[in-house]
């Protein structure tokens, strides 16, 4: 225990180190309440803060206009789908005027775009003006097999009989986020978003190779460019997947913030679908036991967060 550590700005509350501190956010996921906005106006907030998770931002003590820099945020989900946090951070950083490199290996661009529009952000517009660099894994994986060998492809490892390393993918990220001379310095800070890292293991890479790639990305994005990284890893606690455990635990040791999404231990419920535990893990000024725990819920049925705030009283916030 560090005696009287200064509370980092990125942690939510003054009594962050209290073990007993916990709050509950509950999301009620009625599909009828999804706000379907198809405004092409880009990151311009039609209804500011109502299109993201304002309660999550409050608890993390962050907002698009005061986003922290140099942080690795690990998203982890167990027995549920934590992709709603990926959508949250994607819209969050686009609103924050950050240059975002999104390595999307799970879904198509149109899928992320539809969800982002419901959050009030247009990925198409962001991509057109150069704010978003989108690597669509589903499409790129096919392109790998039809390109000429001279061209380095970010997913080059798919062509290799024995999957080696992710150096081409690192070069892609570095090129995408390093500011050029064409006035790109207007963006606030670079952000790397990965959905998700576990699929790289399924594609034949080892956990150490993925950890190496993340280390290079941290060195470049977080340390050199003073940006942020957000990455999702599944917790396959029931399957005894050793490689995934090494990846998850290795990244947990390096992360500044861990958001762990879990399904309810008591089973399924109509209104509350899970909880998010938020813990800080920083090596510079304080340590892991200074953790904050937050409970929330999300929508397991689809990617659309439902965000109309009904009651923000006390420690439980109900959504529907």
């Amino acid at each position: 225990m560090l005696a009287a550590p200064a509370r980092p700005d990125w942690l939510p509350s003054a009594d962050f180190a209290r073990a007993s501190f916990s709050r509950a956010l509950e999301l009620c996921c009625s599909s009828a309440s999804v706000v379907s906005s198809t405004s092409p106006s880009g990151p311009g907030p039609l209804f500011p803060d109502l299109r993201m998770f304002p309660e999550l931002n409050n608890l993390l003590n962050t907002a698009p206009d005061k986003a922290e820099q140099g942080r690795l945020t690990l998203l982890c989900d167990a027995r549920t789908d934590g992709s709603f946090l990926v959508h949250h951070f994607l819209s969050f950083y686009l609103r924050a005027n950050c240059k975002v490199c999104f390595v999307a290996l799970i879904q198509s661009f149109s899928h992320y775009n539809i969800v982002a529009q419901k959050l009030g952000v247009s990925l198409t517009a962001a991509r057109d003006r150069g704010q978003l660099v989108f690597l669509e894994g589903l499409k790129s994986s096919v392109e790998v097999f039809f390109q000429t060998p001279e061209e380095p492809h970010p997913l080059q490892f798919l062509r290799e009989a024995k999957a080696g390393n992710l150096q081409p993918l690192y070069e892609f990220v570095r090129t995408a986020l390093t500011p050029g001379d064409d006035g790109e310095a207007a963006w606030r800070c670079p952000v790397l978003l990965v959905d998700d890292l576990s699929v790289l293991l399924s594609l034949g890479l080892g956990a150490v190779a993925v950890l190496d790639w993340m280390q290079y990305c941290r060195a470049t994005v977080c340390c050199q460019l003073k940006g942020n990284i957000v990455a999702l890893v599944h917790d396959r606690e029931d399957t005894e997947d050793e490689e995934n455990d090494i990846l998850l635990n290795g990244l947990s040791h390096q992360s500044h913030l861990i958001l762990r999404t879990e399904g309810l231990a008591t089973g399924f419920c109509r209104d509350v679908h899970g909880q998010v535990q938020c813990s800080g893990h920083c090596t510079t000024s304080w340590s892991a036991e200074a953790a904050d725990s937050v409970e929330t819920a999300h929508n397991p049925a689809g990617p659309e967060p439902h965000l109309s705030v009904q009651d923000t009283g006390q420690e439980r916030v109900l959504f529907c």
Binding site: M1, A17, S20, Y216, C223, G250, H281, A288, E289
Partner: protein, 303 residues
């Protein structure tokens, strides 16, 4: 003597075993600070966090005494900047082995887990063995120089076999644990040559400048360092019922005969029909639309 405080003075390999919940890098930095203040040469093999992040929180005076070998930026030579260190991290360790300048040396491996994942276990163990038990240069009266190797090991990342191999090499193992909101607990296992291993448990906290603050036992008031204490809530306040009885209420309660208590009065009342029983009657008037079947009274039940 605080065993934790003098770990690096013993020499040999010291394993600092931590977990995600209880990270041991702060303790590693606290021990590095002790060594630097004692006058040791301190080499840091940084593989997991940036140099800036590792040096954060340490005094300028301490930082100036640290020799940092950076394997975080480009450990696999992907960048090809030419700035990478010659050879790998093990070559740096071997170079420390061949040093010629006298004096005690402390080598901090941040982390041993990173090395374990990237280097074959046997090669790593041989290098650590050579480093931990090195002697000074041959012409120097063969006096043994103390080299202390502090290795940070993330327990979850390794199976029992590599962990066991490293444990067998270590003179001392420190397992960091604790409970949230309380002081850290260090379980120390110290192996002396020719003696039984000694175990010790120490409670401590790490100050913001990475000094160690030892405590005699588990703290009774764990949150004194963590801000203003929460106001104690009286659980008996605002109850909707009465917790305590007055004397009269207690007498009334004691004199009450509960329905299940059998007494001679109740026995008499049951044996002799009282006036109340004589007047009690049950009237039953069947519903006009009831379909009563005398032969099958349960006809209306779906059985």
């Amino acid at each position: 003597m605080k065993m934790l405080e003098s770990l690096s003075a013993f020499g040999g390999l010291v394993l600092l075993r931590d977990s995600v919940e209880w990270e041991g890098r702060s303790l590693l930095k606290a021990l590095i600070k002790k060594s630097a203040l004692r006058g040791d040469q301190v080499h840091i093999l940084g593989c997991e966090v940036s140099e800036e992040e590792f040096r954060g929180g340490l005094d300028v005076n301490i930082n100036s005494r640290l020799v940092y070998h950076d394997f975080f930026k480009d450990p696999l030579n992907w960048s090809k900047t030419g700035e990478d260190l010659p050879g790998g991290p093990l070559d740096v360790l071997r170079a420390i082995c061949k040093r010629t300048d006298p004096g005690p040396v402390t080598v901090a491996l941040d982390s041993l887990s990173w090395l374990q994942l990237h280097v074959p276990c046997t090669t790593l163990c041989q290098t650590l063995q050579a480093l931990s038990y090195q002697y000074s240069s041959p012409g120097d009266n063969s006096s043994e120089e103390k080299v202390c190797v502090l290795g940070l090991l993330h327990e979850e990342l390794h199976g029992p076999a590599p962990t066991g191999a490293l444990s067998s090499l270590a003179h001392t193992e420190v397992t960091v644990s604790g409970t949230v909101g309380q002081a850290w607990v260090a379980h120390i296992l110290y192996r002396r040559p020719g003696q039984l291993p000694a175990c010790q448990t120490q409670w401590f906290s790490i100050l913001p400048d990475f000094g160690l603050d030892f405590q005699k036992g588990p703290p009774l008031e764990p949150q004194t360092h963590l801000g203003p204490r929460k106001p104690e809530v009286d659980p008996t306040a605002h109850l909707t019922f009465n917790l305590h009885l007055s004397k009269n209420e207690k007498e009334a309660k004691d004199s009450l005969t509960l329905p299940f208590q059998f007494s001679s009065e109740k026995q008499q009342a049951l044996l002799h029909n009282g006036p109340g029983q004589a007047t009690s009657q049950i009237f039953y008037e069947p519903d006009a639309y009831d379909d009563l079947d005398q032969e099958d009274p349960d006809d209306d039940l779906d059985v």
